[in-house]
Symmetry: C2
Subunit: 160 residues, 2 copies
């Protein structure tokens, strides 16, 4: 188990602990940002995020979010009730529905994204621009390699 993200880190962090604590810090920051600004949960925020550049079906969303289709159905229900997303019947396959952002949903998603980016910038304040670039480069290589290794999962960008 990684140590708690919130406890004062020891002088020497292991790589595992540093990554785990960073994960909790960043995800917690996104969660608090979305909740404080608009009362969004982390999952609702992820939903808005994936819909920014896609109009997937319920099944497509389930794959993108790693959830069961029934979970997504309820998730979309609640977002729809708040006026954030809409369901439109698919003309290609009359069993399917396409989920997309409403203008309000898009505006709020953009706002949360901007504020979150500012939060992250603050968190990274202690690093010089050069160090931030180094960090970004290292993480990018890890992410690219991981996506390639598990690429089977989610290349479904054009989903319907």
């Amino acid at each position: 188990m990684p140590s708690q993200p919130t406890a004062t880190p020891p002088p020497q962090l292991t790589t595992v602990d540093a990554l785990a604590q960073t994960a909790f810090l960043i995800q917690g920051t996104l969660e608090r940002r979305a909740a404080a600004d608009h009362g969004f949960s982390l999952v609702q925020t992820r939903l808005l995020g994936v819909l920014r550049d896609r109009q997937p079906t319920i099944n497509g969303l389930a794959r993108l979010l790693g959830l069961d289709k029934s979970s997504v159905s309820g998730l979309v229900d609640r977002a729809q009730r708040r006026g954030l997303v809409t369901r439109t019947p698919s003309t290609a396959d009359r069993r399917s529905v396409l989920v997309s952002l409403t203008p309000e949903g898009r505006a709020l998603a953009t706002e949360v994204a901007g504020r979150f980016a500012a939060d992250v910038a603050t968190i990274l304040g202690p690093l010089t621009p050069s160090e931030r670039a180094t960090l970004t480069g290292l993480l990018s290589r890890v992410l690219v390699a991981h996506a390639a290794a598990h690429g089977v999962d989610l290349l479904a960008t054009t989903d319907h």
Copy 2:
């Protein structure tokens, strides 16, 4: 909103996206590891994690986990029902109870921690040892600075 962690990353990731996707990747890895091995949720896993070197009260746990005391009460209920933790009345303050791991809870926490560390090592495989050290150093500085800035929160290591 950060891009999805699972989608194939673009050639050039922004710093915010790299951090957000890394956070989802690492936290998702821990969640899947704990669920696959023992059916633990992420929160239950965090609970076991903080109890590895503490015997806090319910209130102390609430501060450590960032939850309401009533949430922690239920959380401990469910862990206790599974034989992972115990409640013992505090002698110092008879309103309080001290939560601690059972031997079985400790064994499972240790096992999950070990497997998670192996998962992280695999994920970081693309980096050289030197690069991993650089990454750890940069993240540690960020975490230390953040803990110092918000240190008011949770230095409650000895909690009772």
